[in-house]
Amino acid sequence: MSAQTGTDALAGPVSKRMGDKARYRFRRLLDDPNPLWIRELKQSARLVRTPVILCVLAVLTTLLIASIGGLVSMNESPATTGYVLFQVFFSIAYFVVTFVGPGVAANAIAAEREGRTWEAVILTGLRPAVIARGKFMAAYTSIGMYVVMLAPVGALPFLFGGVTATETIVAFAFLFLIAGLAVAFGLAISSKMNSLRAALVVSLLCAVIVSLNVYGFFGVGLSIAAHSLWPGVPDGPPVWLPTAYSRAPFDLTYLGLLVGLPLSLAVLPSWFLYEVTVANLTSITDDRSTGLKRWYAICAPIFGIATTIPIISVSPGDRMGACIAALSAHFFFLMMGVYLFAGDSLGPSRRVVLHWDRASAGRFKRFLGPSIVKTSALELCVGFVALALPTLAGLIAVPASSTRSALHAAEILIVAGYVAGFFTFSVGFAAFLRSRMSTTLVARMLLLAVHFLVAIGPWVVAAIAGVVSSASDRSALVVAAPSPFYVFLAIDALGRGGDDILVGGSVFMSVAWALLGLIFLGSARKRTARIIAQHDAALAESDRLLAAEDAAMAQASDPAPEGPADAPSAEPEPVQAS
């Protein structure tokens, strides 16, 4: 039953079949929608400034497009004019949704917290996931209205020619997809913030930085790579992806690069942002880990597969570079995981254990629950599997296309080895810090400080010692081996030959980092087990005392047995516990 929409309660799905379940969910969306979504729509409908802003934006965009169209059409053909307008319009629309989307979403949860309505919402019993979905849909509807208002202007370039209707529709589909990502991004930030202003400032700052970088790298940058792969796709214009669908030949590469990669690039970050939002909305003693760990366990191998696609797809000469780039990207992904999980709990709370027991949760579900040691184990297992994918792809694809196959294989192994070693150290050290710090922020800050020192410190030492500028004694650069950047020096030395000490330093540090990581992890495991045992003992003692107090109270409030006052009792009276 929905009081807001006035519809009756829906009966459950007719059967357990997927189709019936999907039908039921769709009907529920229509007849029993998310209460937060409906309430926010009602509030938005009463906001006078929204239609004014929308109208102003639509008029300004129309004027801009018309002006640019007029200027370009004086010298260019209608087809070129249409293509230029297509690029201009979707670039403007991209920045509108990537700036406004996070701004609108940042308002969602932080405003409730600041307005002191948040507690009322969470006390209704709505689950954090339902709240996150309601807030997302409300913000997405708002940003969707911006896109819809701009749609007629976006159709103008199609009238000039130069772009097809399919390309325009695909571009709008991508616009909606990016809008969804932008909203999810803003919501994830908002879920952590208590102040509306802080949420707005942080969201907008991050949005500007991320959207400009994405525009530059995925737009202009990748258009050149796309042109080299599919000459029909022009190089340079940032909005190349919608045109690639109709201009690239349909084959395995098409499926991998134009379907698989964009899908994973949209779905995986969206899922991540959703899980972050839900985790931030969940109480710290509840299970905040399972969702994020599930995401990581699935995402890491997918990320591994996604990074292997370019290694196989690019021309044989570029495969080595693609492989090193893939391993570097993996390194950043794994490090992001380390920082993400550095805030995990030492172990599950009693409440979480109670819920598991009630749900008869299996070992796997419990493994995915809160526990820094289990999380570290998962990180290492999944991380190594994911890392193995581009490494194997590189080992297979690169030597097959190269005359220096053994050398390239050694280079790939050196990089992969260093990534694996440093990753193991980071996971172990993060677990070690978490087991010793009371707050996650301190653990993360210390980890960041150590990473910074390790990455930069050895090079500073090398610079002070004067070995960086010394061309005669390159082997002295081995002092920089603890820095992850050193691996590039090692593969360079391997290519040149004769600098075995530099290569040996890299191998040594890979092993050393891995061993250090394992030692830290072992220490964290011991300390965590001791803390959990002490905590359990304290809780058991507290329970025992409360139970004893209950028993004493019950005994004291028991009515005296009836009978003659001087009659001896059948049993000796129990002594009153003090």
Partner: protein, 378 residues
Amino acid sequence: MSEESGAVRVEAREEAALPAAPTIRVRHLWHRYGNRDVLRDVTFDVGPGEIFGFIGPNGAGKTTTIRVMATLLEPMAGRVEIDGIDVTMDPEEVRRIIGYMPDHAGVYDRITVREYLEFFADSFRVPSISVVDAVLELTDLGKLQDRLVAEMSKGMKQRLQLARILLHDPKVLILDEPASDLDPRARIEIRDLLLELRGLGKTILLSSHILTELSDVCTSIGILERGRLVVAGPIHEISSRLEAIRAAEAQGHVPPPAYSGSARVVPAPAVQGGVQGPQQHPQGAWQPPVPAAPAVRRVKLRVLGNPNAAAYHLRGGPGIVEVSVMGGIVHVGYVGTDTKIAEMVQHLVHRNIGIVGVEPERNELERIFLEVTRGDVQ
């Protein structure tokens, strides 16, 4: 057959004899912000159907206790049970049976009163739309149902908050300063509404600074100071105990160990519909029960002529405990029923002292508060 029915009767009698289990149980609650203990071993019970007033100066720990009860904060130690459910272990279940109204809570401004309640009805998964109408009627908001929340007065917004927490028909209402910042009329309306809700069987815990209002509605109270519960129990029982202590001290008797050194009253651990459990020291040591002294009631008499003469005639009379004159008004403490007031009036009239007003002193709670607290803030 007769044995069986006899057994059933015995069981029924035993059940009837047992005191009802407390609806709210707060036991040895501790909480700390940074290095500061804001709650120290707070223990009290609230019986079913009671209105429990939670009193204390600013920073005493009232809101922290209330937030723990409302599942919004987890205590460092101790246990809180609402209707037998541990708030830390099963907050979802507790949220179904409590209605919590924080102090200075916000509302959504750009929706109407009805839309506001419909949103919360949906969020609470209330099974029937008619519940919104029922709550609108109960809280007397029916006439304002189409008005925007932004256009409502503070008092009406408080009433709307109360309506919100009634939507899912909770057993327990937890209200943090429900009458703060309200004008006198709105306060009276809220007070009447609380009494009406008590009539519906709700157990209510409310914190307030306005002691006279609490004394009008509360069946029992708890006074918190510097994170410690200094006293808890029904108002008349606390008053009696204080009188007993005062009387004992006046006669040169050493008060019980728990009271020595100050005029403080130890916390009463159990307040279960007036059934008092054994006295317990905060640290858990068992204390013998304090013998109940007859409650001293107070009345203010306005007289024509010399009030000191009236005081002179009343002093030493049967059942008269103390007489004083303050601001031209005769304050009389007595033991007994209302008949005693009639006797006093008759006695003075016979001595040609005109009585123009008789007013019972109702701020018993204020006296208790001043007596058991030191005015310390943290």
